[in-house]
C-alpha cells in the first residue's frame, strides 16, 4: 500500500515538472517571436506614394540604363525573411538618405519639394527603427547584411548621377515592399 502511494506521488511530480517545462518553453518561444516581429514603423504611405507618383514620370524618363536594376525585386527584396525585415528596412533607408538623395542634384523646385518630403519621412521612419534597434528588436543577420551589400554593389556599378536617378525611379519598388511588410505585421 505504501509503495503504491509513493509511486503515484512520483508520477504526479513528473507530470508537474513536464507541464512546467512545456509552459516555460511556450512562453519563451512567444517572447522570442514577438521580439523579432514587433517593430511597427508609423509611416504615411499615402503621402509617400503620392509624392512619388508626382515625380515618377520625370525621374524614370531620365533613367537611360533600362536593363539594370539596383533594388532587384526578385533576387533581393522578395527573398528577405520576416525576421530580417527590420534590419533591411533600416539599411535601405540609410542607403537612400546617405547616397541617393545626396547624390541627386535636383534643380526644379517642384521635384525638389517632393524628394524633400520623401527624404524627411524616411528620416522619421529611421528614428523609430533606431529605437527598435536600441531595444534589440532589430537584429541584423548575415543574410540581411549581404542583401544590403548587393544593393550597394549594384549602385556602384553606375556613374553617380545615373545611379541616383535609377534608384529614385525604383522608389516604388521599395515603398511597395515596406507597405507589404507593414500589412503583414499588422495582420499578425
Amino acid at each position: 500500500m505504501i509503495n503504491l502511494r509513493a509511486n503515484s506521488a512520483q508520477d504526479m511530480k513528473a507530470q508537474c515538472v513536464s507541464l512546467w517545462l512545456l509552459g516555460t518553453t511556450l512562453v519563451l518561444c512567444s517572447v522570442h517571436t514577438t521580439a523579432f516581429r514587433r517593430c511597427p514603423v508609423p509611416v504615411d504611405m499615402h503621402l509617400l506614394e503620392e509624392s512619388f507618383q508626382e515625380i515618377k514620370r520625370t525621374v524614370q524618363t531620365k533613367d537611360t540604363f533600362q536593363n539594370i536594376t539596383i533594388l532587384s525585386p526578385v533576387e533581393t527584396l522578395r527573398s528577405i525573411k520576416p525576421v530580417d525585415v527590420c534590419c533591411v528596412t533600416k539599411n535601405l533607408l540609410e542607403f537612400y538618405m546617405d547616397r541617393v538623395f545626396k547624390d541627386h542634384q535636383e534643380l526644379k523646385p517642384q521635384i525638389l519639394r517632393k524628394i524633400s518630403g520623401i527624404a524627411n519621412t524616411f528620416l522619421y521612419m529611421q528614428k523609430t527603427l533606431q529605437q527598435c534597434q536600441v531595444q534589440r528588436r532589430c537584429h541584423c543577420s548575415e543574410e540581411a547584411t549581404n542583401a544590403t551589400r548587393t544593393v550597394h554593389d549594384n549602385y556602384e556599378q553606375l556613374e553617380i548621377p545615373s545611379a541616383a536617378i535609377k534608384s529614385l525611379g525604383e522608389l516604388d519598388v521599395f515603398l511597395a515592399w515596406i507597405d507589404r511588410n507593414r500589412q503583414e505585421t499588422s495582420a499578425a
Binding site: 508609423p42 504615411d44 499615402h46 503621402l47 509624392s51 538618405m97 546617405d98 538623395f101 545626396k102 523646385p109 525638389l112 519639394r113 524633400s116 518630403g117 527624404a119 524627411n120 519621412t121 524616411f122 528620416l123 522619421y124
Partner: protein
C-alpha cells in the same frame, strides 16, 4: 600742403639743388594723388556696400501658429512709405539640415507673397523639425534672411475637438463632422443616456459627409461625442461635448392614424345619409304628397248616393257628376 610749402622753401633757400627739388616735387605730387585716391575709396565703399541707398530691413518676430495641422508662419511686416514690399519664404527639413545643409527649398505658395504670413502646411510634410526663413524683397533689393529661432515640428500642433452636427432623419441618427483634411480620422462614440447600456464606437475616415450611426428606438435619448485623430503625429484631440437627440414613442402616431381612419369612414357613411334624410324632411315640410286612405276613397258619387236615398231604392239612376262638382262637394 606741407609738401608744397617745403618745396617752395627749398626753392628759395637752395637754388643750386634744382634736380633734387624736382624729385621732391614729383614725390609730393604722387603722395597727393595717392591720398586723393584713398579718400575717394573710403567714401565710396559704404555707398557700394549699401547698393546705392538704405538697406532693406529684414522681417522680424518670426513665429509659427499651428492648429489642426494647419501651420501659419507669421512675421512683423516691413513697412516702407509708398512701397509694396514682397516676402520670400524658404524651408529646410531636418534631412536637409543634416545631410545637405546648404539646400533651402522655396515655399510652395509663398515665393513671393505680399502678406506678412504664409501657410506652410503643404511644405511641412514630415514629422521632423523644420527650419524656416523669410526675407523682404523690393524690386531688385532683397533684405537679409530672418530665420525662425526654434525649428518647428508639426507634432506640436494644437488639436481641437471636431465641430459636430448631430441630427435625426426620421428614426435615423445622423452625424456630420467638420472636414479637417485627409490627415484626420474621427472616433465617434455614442450611447443611450439613462439606460446604462454600453457605448458604441465608429471610426470615420473623412469629415464633411453625413453618416448614419444607428436606427433609433423611442425611450431614452441617444448621445454622441467625437474625437479627431492624426496618425501622422500619433496624437488625438479631446472629445467634443456630447450632443443628444430623442425620438417620440411609436404608439401615439398609430392610434392617431387609427382614429383618423375610423372618423373618415364614419364621415363617408354618415354624411350622405344625413343629406338624404334632410332632403326627405324638406320634401315633407314644403311639398308633401297626400294619399287618401282606402276607407275615405269614394267609389260612388255623392249625388248618386243622395239620389239613391231620395228615390225608390230599386231604380238608382247613376248620374256621374263632373270632377269639378265632385271636388267642390268634397271641399
Amino acid at each position: 600742403m606741407a609738401g608744397v610749402d617745403r618745396m617752395l622753401h627749398c626753392k628759395r633757400n637752395v637754388p643750386g639743388q634744382s634736380k633734387s627739388a624736382k624729385q621732391t616735387l614729383t614725390m609730393v605730387l604722387k603722395g597727393f594723388r595717392t591720398s586723393i585716391i584713398m579718400w575717394l575709396f573710403y567714401t565710396l565703399i559704404p555707398c557700394l556696400l549699401t547698393d546705392g541707398g538704405e538697406a532693406l530691413p529684414a522681417p522680424q518676430n518670426l513665429s509659427v501658429h499651428s492648429a489642426n495641422m494647419k501651420h501659419l508662419l507669421m512675421w512683423s511686416p516691413v513697412v516702407l512709405p509708398r512701397e509694396t514690399v514682397y516676402y520670400s519664404v524658404e524651408y529646410q527639413g531636418e534631412y536637409e539640415s543634416l545631410y545637405t545643409s546648404h539646400i533651402w527649398i522655396p515655399s510652395k505658395w509663398c515665393s513671393p507673397i505680399e502678406d506678412a504670413e504664409c501657410d506652410v502646411s503643404d511644405d511641412i510634410t514630415a514629422t521632423v523639425p523644420y527650419n524656416l526663413r523669410v526675407r523682404a524683397i523690393l524690386g531688385s533689393q532683397t533684405s537679409a534672411w530672418s530665420i525662425l529661432e526654434q525649428p518647428f515640428n508639426r507634432n506640436s500642433t494644437i488639436l481641437t475637438p471636431p465641430g459636430m452636427e448631430v441630427s435625426r432623419n426620421g428614426f435615423h441618427l445622423v452625424i456630420e463632422l467638420e472636414d479637417l483634411g485627409p490627415q484626420f480620422e474621427f472616433l465617434v462614440v455614442y450611447w443611450r443616456r439613462e439606460l446604462d447600456t454600453k457605448e458604441h464606437a465608429k471610426v470615420l475616415r473623412r469629415g464633411g459627409i453625413p453618416v448614419h450611426l444607428e436606427t433609433m428606438e423611442p425611450g431614452a435619448p441617444y448621445c454622441v461625442k467625437a474625437q479627431a485623430q492624426v496618425k501622422a503625429i500619433g496624437r488625438n484631440s479631446a472629445f467634443s461635448q456630447a450632443e443628444c437627440v430623442e425620438v417620440q414613442g411609436e404608439a401615439l402616431p398609430l392610434v392617431l392614424a387609427l382614429f383618423a381612419f375610423v372618423g373618415f369612414m364614419l364621415i363617408l357613411v354618415v354624411v350622405p345619409l344625413s343629406i338624404w334624410k334632410m332632403g326627405q324632411l324638406l320634401q315633407y315640410s314644403c311639398c308633401p304628397m297626400v294619399v287618401l286612405p282606402d276607407t275615405l276613397k269614394i267609389t260612388n258619387s255623392p249625388q248618386k248616393l243622395i239620389s239613391c236615398r231620395r228615390e225608390e231604392v230599386d231604380s238608382c239612376a247613376l248620374a256621374v257628376p263632373s270632377s269639378e262638382e265632385l271636388f267642390q262637394a268634397w271641399i
